[in-house]
Each structure stands twice: as structure tokens, then as C-alpha cells.
Point group: D2
Chain length 505, copies 4
């Protein structure tokens, strides 16, 4: 953590509708394709975070009283602005995260879908009404806003994951403090500014850049009623325990180690093509990436390896800004080292390294954090590359004899985020999807990320909390019920006008 003098500008915070920078710690932001830092980001101290919370608290009463349809229309307008500014946003993502532009556009598109869903607020916020719960007694439940809510988001989807959270939170009438990743804060902040342009009142959405100090300030402040988090499992556990200890509601999404099962009856060509994207897309830095292929039978394994090896040979790795490239760099030098270390460990533990991406050179980008695609065979439970989330372009083949054996592996793993099966058989698919202990299941779909009108969440140690992210669950997460029970005693008004004008009778 240091100040880089060569950086001329600093990305600050958005508080009460204003971009602010303060005399605080800063940290450089790097372009992973070049390894150069061109800007820095402010790291909010506790006071800055508290200012953001205070801004959100001030904005709450008026926003909460704004009719849901009006709130929704801000999001409709934001959707249009996001589409109009898509190229710029994608460029910002690629510059700070490294992913190829088409992938950045894809991320943004998914985020836009969440904005769309949040704009259905008038429908989503309908309460339940019961006439005559008893004679002359009615009762109804409303979904009311919580107050100030917060989100803490990871580096790998700087546009999308924040859009999972705050649009629905504010559609429900809450105000929000967002602490995005300090690795690639640019696009996140830019989108927040577009929200202001779309008509979101100042203070309804605040953005504070920062690190653990900012996180803790959010978790400990009694004014923050709810916290959404996406990141690694150790941090998710900390967020969940610490937020709940302070009486908040918390949803904390953590890590993953998603397995794909390929059955003997699968369409192998289809499976190979699907797996290439699932394993190496975005350099594997996705919680829904598939780093493990479980082949049922050696014949399947042989075919998959042949197909994957050929496809890897055709891959182009280089800066995300070049349209022809399939894969860009890893996000930071530190992460590059970590992922390379996993490849080393896999070799050391006895897995067979079929394709080795460690020596990759990208001419003209020698300081970029580029790692070529790696492919292991004979990966086994117990190996580090089997147990842990690598978050890099490292794919492993696991061999089993039956579907049940493959499912047992998955069910025994600590994570339960996503999984998929490749088969043509209805019964295999149904048995798998019913009995697998994983929250998001694909049948011939490699990355079963739910669409925006369903909800996102894993099982086991991939998610802590009651409710999944975005979709219908998010409506529940960002609201609390108020149940009213009502009976009216007679006041003489209805029975007649006698009390009002007795002389006229």
C-alpha cells in the first residue's frame, strides 16, 4: 500500500452526488496488459465511509416515499444510458481488469439485465392482501425498504456485480453505499455517475473506494441495515459473521470449484466447445468458471482431451483491446504469481500437465500478467489444484467410472456454487439436477448463471445467508415485511346522516 507519485489523477468517492477526494491513503491502479499504473484510487478511511452512510441516511426518507414506479423509471433511464455508453464502459473494464472487450461487453449486458429486472419494481413489490381474516378484519403485508444498505464487490466483474445489488436495493426504496474493488474501480464509478444522470437523487447511491478499513466501517455502523458481498469464501465468512454480530442482515457469496460432468452419451464436440469458454473465458477469473471436467469413462476422457488440446492450440492470448484475442492477462502480478504457483503444485502432486501455459510471451507486452491456458489430466481429490479455487486459466480432467462416482465427488467438495452435466439422456439429467448439492445446475449449459429474473447463489460454503443474489430473492433481501391488521369500529357516519342533520328527517 503506497502512493505512486507518477500517477497524476486519483479515483475518488461519490458521496451525496459529488465526486470527492480527500487526504487519504491511495493505491495505484494497473493495466494488467501492460503492467503499468496510469492512475490511483483513494482508500476511504472510516470518516469518509461514515460520511457516505450519513448521506445515504439523509436521502432515505424522501426516496422511500417516492412511488415505486418513479423509482423504477430512473432505472429504465439508466438502462438506456448504459446501452449508449457501452463501448466506453467496456473499454474501462478491459483497461483495468484485462478481459477481452467482447467479454467486457458481455458482462455489461448481464448487468443491464439486472437493471431491467429492478425496473419491474411496481410488480415485484406487491404485497399480499387478505379480506376478512376474521369478520370485518382485513390484513395485508407490505415489503418496505430497510434504510441504508451496502454492497462490497469483487474485481472480476466491476460492472456486473455492483449492478446485481444496488439497482434492486434502490428500486425497493433503500439507499446504498457501494464499496467496489480497489483493483478496477473505474467502470463502477462511471456507472454510478450515469445513475445520477438518469435521475437518481444525490445520496441514494454512494460509492466509496477502499480496503478492509472501509469494509469494517460498513460492517460496524449501526445505520447500515444490510450488506451484500461477493468475493472469496474466507472473506465471505468474515463478512457474514461480523455483519450478523452487529445485528444486520447479510448475504455473502464466496468461492467455487465448479465441476462439469461429461457422460458417455454426450455430444463431445459441443462439450469441448462449451468447456473452452467455461474454463478459459475471462482467464478463469469467474466464480462460475469450470476448472474441472469429470469424465465418465476413459473413452470420454480421451475424446475430451483430444478436442480440448486442439482447441487450446487455436487460442489467441494477448491484450483484451485486440479484437482477435480470446483471452487477456490475469488481473494483477500477485494473482499471476499465485496461479502459476498452482500449476507448479499440480505438477508436483502428480497430475499430468498436458498443456503448459507458463512460458507464454506476448510480444510487446512483456510486463503484462499473461499466463497461457493450462490443461491437466489425472487430477484427483486431495490435490491442491482439485480442492482450491485457482481463479486462473487452469483446467483439470478428473476420471470416474460412473455418474454416481462423479456426483459423490461434487457433493463431497466444500463448495457448491455451479455445476453442469453433458448428456442427451433425460433420466441422467434429472437424477443429477435433483441430487447434486449445488445451487446452480446446468444441463448441457456450461455456465448456468441464472438469468436476471431468477436468482444467483450457491450452496454449502459458496454462500452464507438465507437469500440469493439478484432476481426474486433480492427483492426479499432488500425489504422487510410490515403486516397490518385492520378493523374499523362504527363511527355513526355510515349508519346514517342522522347525527349530521337530524332536523331534516
Amino acid at each position: 500500500m503506497h502512493n505512486d507519485k507518477s500517477v497524476t489523477s486519483t479515483i475518488g468517492h461519490l458521496i451525496d452526488g459529488q465526486l470527492v477526494t480527500r487526504a487519504e491513503r491511495t493505491q495505484p491502479v494497473f493495466n494488467p496488459a501492460t503492467g503499468q499504473s496510469t492512475t490511483s484510487v483513494a482508500l476511504a478511511g472510516k470518516a469518509t465511509v461514515q460520511d457516505a452512510i450519513a448521506s445515504a441516511e439523509r436521502a432515505f426518507p424522501a426516496w422511500r416515499n417516492t412511488p415505486p414506479l418513479k423509482r423504477a423509471r430512473v432505472l429504465s433511464k439508466l438502462k438506456v444510458l448504459l446501452e449508449e455508453n457501452a463501448d466506453q464502459i467496456a473499454a474501462m473494464i478491459t483497461a483495468e481488469h484485462g478481459k477481452v472487450l467482447s467479454d467486457a461487453h458481455g458482462e455489461l449486458q448481464r448487468g443491464i439485465e439486472n437493471v431491467e429486472y429492478a425496473s419491474y419494481a411496481p410488480e415485484l413489490l406487491k404485497g399480499e392482501h387478505s379480506r376478512n381474516v376474521g369478520p370485518g378484519i382485513d390484513s395485508w403485508s407490505e415489503f418496505q425498504a430497510l434504510g441504508v444498505t451496502a454492497g462490497i464487490t469483487p474485481f472480476n466483474f466491476p460492472a456486473m456485480v455492483p449492478l446485481w445489488m444496488w439497482p434492486m436495493a434502490v428500486a425497493c426504496g433503500n439507499t446504498f453505499v457501494l464499496k467496489p474493488s480497489e483493483r478496477d474501480p473505474g467502470s463502477t464509478l462511471f456507472i454510478a455517475q450515469l445513475a445520477l444522470e438518469a435521475g437518481l437523487p444525490p445520496g441514494v447511491l454512494n460509492v466509496v473506494n477502499g480496503d478492509k478499513e472501509a469494509v469494517d466501517a460498513l460492517l460496524q455502523d449501526p445505520r447500515v441495515k444490510a450488506v451484500s458481498f461477493v468475493g472469496s469464501t474466507p472473506i465471505a465468512e468474515y463478512i457474514y459473521a461480523e455483519g450478523c454480530r452487529h445485528g444486520k442482515r447479510v448475504q455473502a457469496l464466496g468461492g467455487a470449484k465448479n465441476h462439469a460432468i461429461v457422460m458417455p452419451d454426450a455430444d463431445i464436440g459441443n462439450a469441448v466447445s462449451a468447456m473452452m469458454g467455461a474454463a478459459y473465458g475471462s482467464c478463469g477469473e469467474r466464480c462460475m468458471a469450470v476448472p474441472l471436467i469429470v469424465c465418465v469413462g476413459d473413452e470420454v476422457a480421451g475424446k475430451m482431451i483430444a478436442g480440448l488440446s486442439a482447441a487450446i492450440g487455436d487460442m489467441k492470448v494477448g491484450p483484451g483491446t485486440d479484437e482477435g484475442n480470446d483471452m487477456g492477462p490475469l488481473v494483477t502480478r500477485q494473482h499471476f504469481e499465485k496461479v502459476r504457483g498452482y500449476v507448479d503444485a499440480g505438477v508436483a502432486e502428480g497430475a499430468t500437465l498436458l498443456v503448459d501455459g507458463r512460458g507464454l510471451e506476448v510480444p510487446g507486452h512483456e510486463d503484462g500478467y499473461f499466463l497461457g491456458p493450462c490443461l491437466f489430466d489425472h487430477v484427483k481429490p486431495g490435490m491442491k489444484i482439485y480442492q482450491e479455487e485457482i481463479f486462473g486459466p487452469v483446467l483439470g480432467i478428473v476420471r470416474v467410472k460412473t455418474l454416481q462416482e462423479g456426483m459423490d465427488l461434487i457433493n463431497a467438495h466444500e463448495y457448491g456454487n455451479g455445476t453442469c452435466i453433458f448428456t442427451r439422456d433425460g433420466e441422467a439429467a434429472r437424477y443429477f439436477s435433483d441430487h447434486i448439492q449445488v445451487g446452480m445446475v446446468g444441463v448441457n449449459v456450461p455456465l448456468p448463471v441464472p438469468v436476471a429474473y431468477h436468482s444467483f447463489g450457491g450452496w454449502k460454503r459458496s454462500l452464507f445467508g438465507d437469500l440469493h443474489a439478484y432476481g426474486p430473492d433480492a427483492v426479499r433481501f432488500y425489504t422487510k415485511r410490515k403486516t397490518i391488521t385492520q378493523r374499523w369500529p362504527g363511527a355513526g357516519v355510515r349508519e346514517g346522516a342522522v347525527f349530521s342533520f337530524p332536523s331534516s328527517r
Copy 2:
């Protein structure tokens, strides 16, 4: 029905994405503020209607297979176009219908809300899924499109009422043939063209202008699966009987005679102000207009009459294009004569005509169909002006002694579209809203038109059919359930890979 030679252009049909005119009958379209015809409208013969239906049928398979999210996005885009073209659309409404511009904008705004709601299709079309209805058996219900659907709409809301229908119909995957009113077809057709611009494929929405011949062609064609209608009760009954006789599903919304009850504890100033708009807005040409005020007690009647008389004195009647005017002309000369006849009849039947709008002259607009606001006291059941829907600026005061007496009047009337009560008393409001035989109830709300995310419909002879217009009911009206029950027998694939590669074991 004749061809007016002075008219130089003819408003035609929109079939298969093309504006078409044919050698058919035409009818002049008048500007009610001037009494002049500046254009004419084609009246589709049976063959033209069948061409439109054929176009819709051809467009159906591809549109039905288009994912709901994609269909919804066409509507999101249409919403933006409607907002951008609002001034032009409002001007077209005023030119052909006569209502003042602010009212035309209001109509369009309500229509836009229906487009917004239809754009929630991905949420609204979710089916119900049940795992394990029996051991290993799953079942789910889908809401599938019907095919070709049709709408027949009235003159009084040329923009809004069509937007109640076809956006949701096409959002659900249907294709549509719209037959709007031949009195003011301009804005309706213009909006349909905007839908094409927004990306609606040719043939998904077709517009045919016409009269009874076109209506009957729609009702009798077996390719049309569902018909939505808004108009008068005699026609609604005909549409319902004739459409159902041909095996279709039909929703037919008819006439109204909405009563407002003013209680002794009401805020009289508020009630007077609300009633002015409800009675005279859009010249009373609304099925949710309130032409009858039921005063509970003579004291209330006296206060309401005093307030209304003063407010009527301040009203400005004239061309809808002048911003200062509160009320424009009636829609046609024929309708003007009819409404004036009701006023004559009211006087003849013994009601007290407190304000007489029959002699109104609007300088410079002597040929316009202007009738001034009329106010009757002592209107009674049995009088023609009590029983029948006038659809003009004629407001009547009815005097009763108790709320119950007023409710008995309402419940005895053949119509049951809308009603409202003015009171501060919770029990009166609750008793009224629970026991009144009316579909749309206002409590201190004069025009209780449901918002777009609820549904619109009256009771008794104000609506024929099971399901109300727009909102959640419209989703059901424009879809049919398909229920799938599924069980998978074992195929040997799941149990093991043994059958596929026995040699490898």
C-alpha cells in the same frame, strides 16, 4: 358512409409491416373543434381483414419462439419512442378527438405505463414448477401464446386503449390485428408505426381501419383466437356472444354510469375539485367519468352544488389546442346532438337544470361540436339521465339520506364499472368498498382507474368475460396453460458407463 372528395389523403391499414390502402369504402375524419374534415379513413372489407389475419398468422411461429426478454425489449424501446414523440401524438389525438392537449398527454402517459408493464414479460410469464408430484415425477405449467389475437377499440382513448391490449398480447408471444375507432384513427396508426421502428417484426402487429364489416370478419375468422373489446354495452354483448359462438375467448368491456358518494364528513373542497375533473374532463367521454354525485343529506348536496356552480363558472371551453382551455368539443356532430338530447330529456323528466351548457358559443369555432358543462339537481332513478350512459359533460346530483340508500342505488344499476366515496371515516370506506357491486372503487379518488400493474374491469353489464383488461389479468387472457408431467425411465446411461465401454473395466 361516403367518400368526401375534398379530402386529399386517406388513412389506410398497416399489414405485414406496410401501410396499405385499397379500393375500399372510405369515411371522412373530422376535427371536432372546427367541424371540418381534413382527411378520410379507409374502411376495410372482409378480404383486407383476412389479409391482416394471414399476416399475423405467418408472423406467429417465429415471434412465439422469440425469447420473452427479446420481445420485452421491443416494448422498452417503444416506450422511449413514445416519450420522444409525445407532443406529436398528443396533437394527433386532439385534432381528431377534440380533448385538450394536457388530457391527450395524460392519456398517452397511461398508455406508456401499459407498455412498461408489458415489458416485464420475463417475470410475468413465469410458470409454476413442482418437483416430485409423485416419486420421480415432475410437473410444470407454462403460459403459452394463443396465436392470432385481436382488439377492437373505441374513439375516446385512441392512444391508450389500444396500448392496453396489443403490447401485452405481443409480449406474451401472440400476434395481433387491431381495429381502432374510425373516428380518430391517426394516433393509433402512428403508434403502431413506432412499434415497427422499435423492432417489432412485420406482421406481429397489424392495424385495419373499418366498421362493422371489419369487426365481423375478425369475429368469424377461425384463425383469431381471442378478442378484446372496449366500447358500449350493446356492442360488447354482441361481441361477446358472437365471438364465443365462434369458439374464441372474448373480453368485452362495455358502458358505465359511475356514482360518487359524498358523505357528511367528507372534505367538500376536495370533493368538488375532484368531481369537476371526473365529470367534465375529456367532455365526459370516459367510461370512468363520474356523471352522478350521490349526496348523503341535503346539507352535503347544498355545499356540493355551491362549490360546483362556482367552479363551473370558472371553466374555459374551447379548442383543445389552446392551452388555457379546460374542455374541448364532443367527438362528432351526431354525438353532440345525442348529448344535447339527454339534457332536454332531463329537463322534461323533472330534474332541475342548475347550469345549462346548451347555448354555448365558441367564437371562431361556430361549427365545432361544443357543449358547455351542464349540472342537474334532483336526478332520480328511472329518469333517462339517471339510467343511461350519456358520455357528455352532464353531471347530476342525487340526494339520499344514508350511505346504505346510496349503495342500494348503485347496486341496483345495470352497470358496475367504477364508483367512489368521499369520506374521512375508515369504517364507511371499508363497508362501501366491500359491499358495493362495482369492479373499481375509489376512496377519495374520483377516477379509480387501476394503475397499469393492476387490472381494469367493471362488474355486472360493464364487462363480459372472465378476465379484466391489462395488468395481471391480461397475462392470463393472452396465454393458455400447457401443463407437462414428466418421468424418466432408466436408460442405463446414469447407472454406469459399463454398457458403453466394458473393455475398460
Copy 3:
């Protein structure tokens, strides 16, 4: 239509909680296993029907005001009584309809499930509530009872089909007049009496036995707001047109000709076993029976024929009261003749009659209406036995070369009630279920009758109306929306107590 002197008792009507018989026409009721009549049934004239309607109308206000939970509890109690009286009810069904006892128990069980679902009324009747549709304005929709509703039910499920209708109708707060089949009225009436015992107030459910005169009296009476019908398509069309002509809402379920498709990859043993029950169960007198098997490829046809022929050889046909029997008699002599005529016609039209059930003799039951199972091969579109609903134990094999060819046949048929496919292939099942023009689809499920918490209904000429029978659709069919929009003006009460105790300030 005549009076049979040998019959000593007459089954009457249930009106206002009382069993009544009147000097009206009667008709004998036969035991189809013996051909003997042991009782007769009264045929209600118009006056009797009007009395029942009047009873229902009187009972409506109090029942409608009874809290849903209390109404639901009557149904919970009825469920217990039905379980306790199951043997007696099954015996009554078998004695009048002929089906074997296990099948009668199965029918009752399905009916009980509908009673269970209706008992969820407090949940099912929840309306939608929206706080702040505008500033300070709330709106909500309620599902209110219609008033007097009616049901007209067929002979083939005398216990179940009435239980599809009236329990939900009364759970929703309506009162009901039921006109069951005059062929087998005993169990229907008995169940209605159990409902009284369970606590249903007199007049809430009335039963009138009768024929077309009674039906027309129901259709034409303005007090009846809704009619549910299950029967043949010509009558369904009549009911729909005539009921709608009188302004009612109507759902009319008609005939069927359900096809099963057997794919080359199907589990043939499973398909054979499933088809035996689907074709011959209840003697084929079910609208969800499967009288046509579409075999994809001659190889499949050959295997299916071999399996079915063997299984038919093992079937036992005789009185339904004997536990060992698989199939009982047809319902009436007239129907027996009609079904036998279809077999004759099939032979005449060139289909291959593989198994001929026409000569069946059941010793000791020579006057019973027994027809043995029949199996045709080479049934083709255009043949009478392909086009028409036989409603008897006649199964036909149709041969096609591809799934698409089979689906084209189904989609071209006038009916679209149920269908199923036998396959192990996920894609075939998905393509079939998405593109088949049929309301109820089974995947390896021969009779895809939806469970009670989904809804029952066909497409095309198998159902007329908007909403399917039972399940969630029934809640909509038996209720109408009322939408309330509410705003409260200030009354000085909230602002302060100043008006109440000015001296204390």
C-alpha cells in the same frame, strides 16, 4: 325417457339442504354389469332448477361474508369424511358406472385432492397490494366471489369431476348448483350430503338431477353468473355459446383423441404397460384415455403390438365388483352399441383388427354391457376410428417414420386435450412438449392429468373458455377482481389534538 314401474325408489335433488323429490319426469338408472335397473332418477323441470338457484342466491350473502379460513375448514372436514366413506362411495360408483372398484377408489382419491386444494383458500385468495401507487395513494385488488355458480358434469367420473368444481367455487365464497349426469347420480348426491355433514350451510351447494331441460334452465337464468361444464365437444360448444349469449362466464371442456408417440429409443416394456392402462382403464371412458399409439418406425410398431397382444391376453373383463377384474362393462346399452359400431367401421375402412373384443361373453352377466378390448393396426387419418372420440376399449396403432410426422398428425387433429411421448431423449421430449398443440403433455407419463395444484384443460376444440379446470385457474374462474384505490384527506385528527382539547395548550 320413461317411468320404470319396477323401480321402487327415486333419486331426487338436494335443495336448500333438503333432499326433495317432486312430481316430475324420472328415468331409470341401470347397473351396467347386469343391465338391470334398480332405481330411478328425477329429472328436474325448470321450476325445480329455479328453486335451487333461488336457494343458492339466498345463501350467498352470508357465505360470501364468511371468512375464507372458515369456508376452507368445511372442506378440510369434508376431506376426512370422504376418506372415512371411501368404500361406500366407490361401491356406488361401480354399481352405476361399471368401472372396477380400484378404479372407483382412484377416481375418488383424485377428487379428494381437489377438495384439499380448495381448502388452501386463505392462501389462494390473497389479493395484490401496492403502497404508494402515487403519493399517499394505495391500491389493491381482491378476488371476490361471483354469486351463484353452476356445474354440469359427465357420467364417466361421477365423484371426481363434480369435486373439480364446487369445492373451489364455494371455497371462493360462491354458492353452487350442480347438475350431475343422470346416468350415475348416486355417488355425486351422497358426497353432497357429506358436505352438509361437514358443515356446509344449506343452500351453498344444491344438486339438481336432470337433462337438457335442467341445463337450459341453468344457462338462461340471469342469477347464474358462471358455468363449468365437462362433456363432449358438441355439447361443450352449445354450453359455451348459449351461456355466453346470456352474459355469463363459461368454461366448457369437451372431447379428446389423445395420441401417444413411442420413439425408437423408448423403454418398450414400460410403454406397453403404460398403454394398457391408458387405453383400456375405465373401459376407455376417460377424456384422458389414449386410444391411439403413434409408433415411430415399423420396428417400434412391431414390438408394441407384440407386447400389447400378450398383455391383452392376460386381461380379465367382468363385473367391477370382482376384485380380480381389470375392466368392467360400458356405461349403457346405447353406448355399448355405439362403441361396437366403431369397431365395425374400423374393419370396414381397412384398419387391421388384431384383437377383436366384440364377441366377449361374461358368464352370469349376459345382459351386462361388456365389450372386450380391441386392438387395431394401420389406423390412418381420415378413418372414423382415427377422427372421432370412441370412449371405449378400442386402441389403434398409427405408423409414422419420424417424430415430426407424428406431431404433424396430432397438431392437425381437431382435439388437443392430452398427449404423451415415450423416449429417453431429452431433446425429443423438449421439442415435443414445446411444439405440440395440446394442453396436457406427458413425457413417459401416459395419462398426464395435472395434479390438483396445477390446472386441467385441453387446447383447440377440447376446451372453450379462458381458464382451465381446477387448480390455480379455478380460483380465477370462480372470482372476479375488485380493485380499490384509496387516498385519505387530512381530517385534523392526525395533525394534532388541538381541535379536541384546545384549552390544554
Copy 4:
């Protein structure tokens, strides 16, 4: 904590369908009306709790795979058994808790309603299904069981609160370990035994009696996935923090200090009568009791005090088993001392004690824990009797000048469980219910406990967690989403039979 030798029997645990007692600590159970102990209760050690958890875990797979309808039917049967055994259960409650029999019956009735609601499981567990989320891709969400769940319940509703929890948990497919209050464990255990009789398989519901050791064993065991708690706020906070720290989902309902506001326009007679039950019913030992009346204006205060004083004079306090009594004893001697201490404190802090129940003697029951009703005037924020939950028959009058002042008090209090307003004015009720920071609001309803088909929960420090107890929220709490996304590649089966029987073409 000691063993009372005079007690001859010990209430044990229900594990794996068996009543078990072990060599563990025990604690006497007292009859609060006599102060005598007649039995004792076992206090489970960690090993016993782990056995119960193990039993629940073994029972889970089969129960989870049992169709929801079958699970629901066990609850329907339980409902019948609870009704049949109501007198015995009520007697057990009164003997151990002290409340009067009619109140015990009322509690049981509320519990039965929760069992009823859980029996709607087939409807409540429906997932959301979306056809064509992309071309040829379907997606659906299921609500799947969590596994082993647990409940920890308080002494004040030994029958009802457990029935809030486990019936819905098991209806959703979970298994359950219940740790009821060790003060009055009899009725809880008896009801669990009835569930076995109703058909609940052994191990699906286990009951362990115990104290903090048992609670901690539940909170720390990784096999327990969810914990529901009802009790005091300090314990609720501990449960929430400790359960979440171990990665579980937790809902923890805590204390309350419910205020009733009486407006100048209220029906005072009605308010007095309502407040008597709300303040003194069940001796005030309810989290929905109303211990504070906020009178708007001194005139209202005067009338309320007059009415309450008179009504208190008519109250009968004595053993709950005597039908004539209105109020029984407090639950334990310790609690009796604590409540009496609050009355002392109120006097010391300057509140005016209008009615003093401290000296009450119940002849023949001198050792019972009887405290007479107490009434304070001039209770003020800051006083202990204003701030803290007393859980006894102590009612305080607070005087304010306006509704807003009263609402400010309520919103400033740490608790936000229930509240109510007495008024006839629609606007006051609407303003109050919208802006009050309380989860359950009554309008002229003193104890706005939501009916079983809505959900129960407070705001602020009255509830920790995302989801309220029972009703629709409980379905979400006891399930987790699984979202499946499915696409089928062609397998050649659908396209034709050519691969299967080429020779036949």
C-alpha cells in the same frame, strides 16, 4: 439446577421416534398456581443433542424425497389429532405455564392454524419456470430442503411457538430438532408424539429438553443448517451472532415493548375493552402484549383511565383451571419477583401507580405466583418501566399531545415488534401504519398477530434475520433455491428414425 427427589417421573427427549431419558441433569417443573413441583425435566447434554441431530440427519434423505403432498398429509392428519386432543393439551399448558384454560385453547388454536398452513406445501413449494430464457434454453428455480433444522422456543407459548416452526420446516422436506422451554415442556412433547401418530417418520422431528448446553450444541454443530429462535432480545442476539458465526441461517425473534396509541376520535369503550385483554391476557407474558397506552390528549387519558380502572375492578385472578378466572399466575417465582420489582421501580421513578396488584392473595393458593393487575399513569421515556420489557400484568399510560409525538416515541424505542392505533380516521390510520417503525401494526386491533398465512416478525431489535416467522416467509427460511438451466443438443432421435431402422426406408 438440582434434582428434586420428590418428583417421581422425568420428562425426557424424543429421538428417532422414541422417548428417551438418560443419566443427565434434571430440573423440576412447577405448577405456578400452586408453587409445587410434580415432575422434572431432563436437561440434554451435548451428546444427547448430537444423537438427536444424527437421527434427523439419517431421516433426511428419505423425507426430502417424499413428495410434498404426502408430507402435507401428515400435517393434515396432525391437525385432526390436535383438535381431538385439545382439552388435554390445554390442561397441560395451564398446569405448567399457568395461563387460564380458554387462553391455552386459544394458543393451541393459533398453533393449529400454522399446521394448516404448512399443509398447503404443494402450493407453497412451487418453483418458477421460464421457457426460452434463450433460444431452446429453459430455466427454473426449485425450493429445496436445507437438511437438519432446529428451533429453540420460549415458555410463554409452549404449544404455539413450536408449531410456528417445525410443521413448516418438515413440510418443506427438512428434518428438525426442537429444544423447547424447560419451564413447561409437557404439551410440546405431547404434540410431537401426536405427530408421530399422524405418520411423521421417526427422526423427522426430534425434541431435546435442555438449557444453554443444549442450545450451544445446536448452534455449533455443522450438521444443523438453520436455527429459528423466539425469546428475549439478549439471547436472540447471541443466537444470531453465534449461529451465523457457524455459517448457518438464523432467524431470532426477541423482545418487545408494544405501544397502543389512542386518538381523540377513538371509540373509547372499544379501546378499553381491547386494552384489558392486550395488557393482562396471559398475565402479560406475550411478546405481542401491550404494556403501554399512548393517549393523545389528557381528555383521552382521563377516559381511558376511568374505563380501565373499572374493568380491572371486575377482573378475577386465580388458578387457570377455574373457568371463571380472567388471569392466572406468572410462570415462575423468579419471574414473579422480577415483575414485582418493576412495579416497585415504577413507583420509585415517579410514575403514578393507580392500581396496585402487588398485595394480591389468592385463597388456597398462597404459594402460587399470583400478581394482581397494575396500572400506572404518567409513565415516561427513560423510566425502567417504559424502556424494558416487563412481561407481566403491568400497564402504563403515556400522555402526548399529538399523534406525531406518540409516533416519535415509538420510533425511538429500541423494539419494533407490534403496535396499534385506535381511531376512526382513515388518514390517521394510514399515516401511522406507513410511517411507524414496527413490523406488525394494528388499526383498532390490539394484538395484531398476523394470521397463519401472513408472517410474524418485528423490526429493529425485535428480530434478527432476513425472514419473519411462519407464513410465506417461513417457506423461504426453510428452503434454498436451486436454479437449473437446461438445453438439449440434438441426438438424432427426434430428427427421424433413420438411424434406428435404415432398411425400412
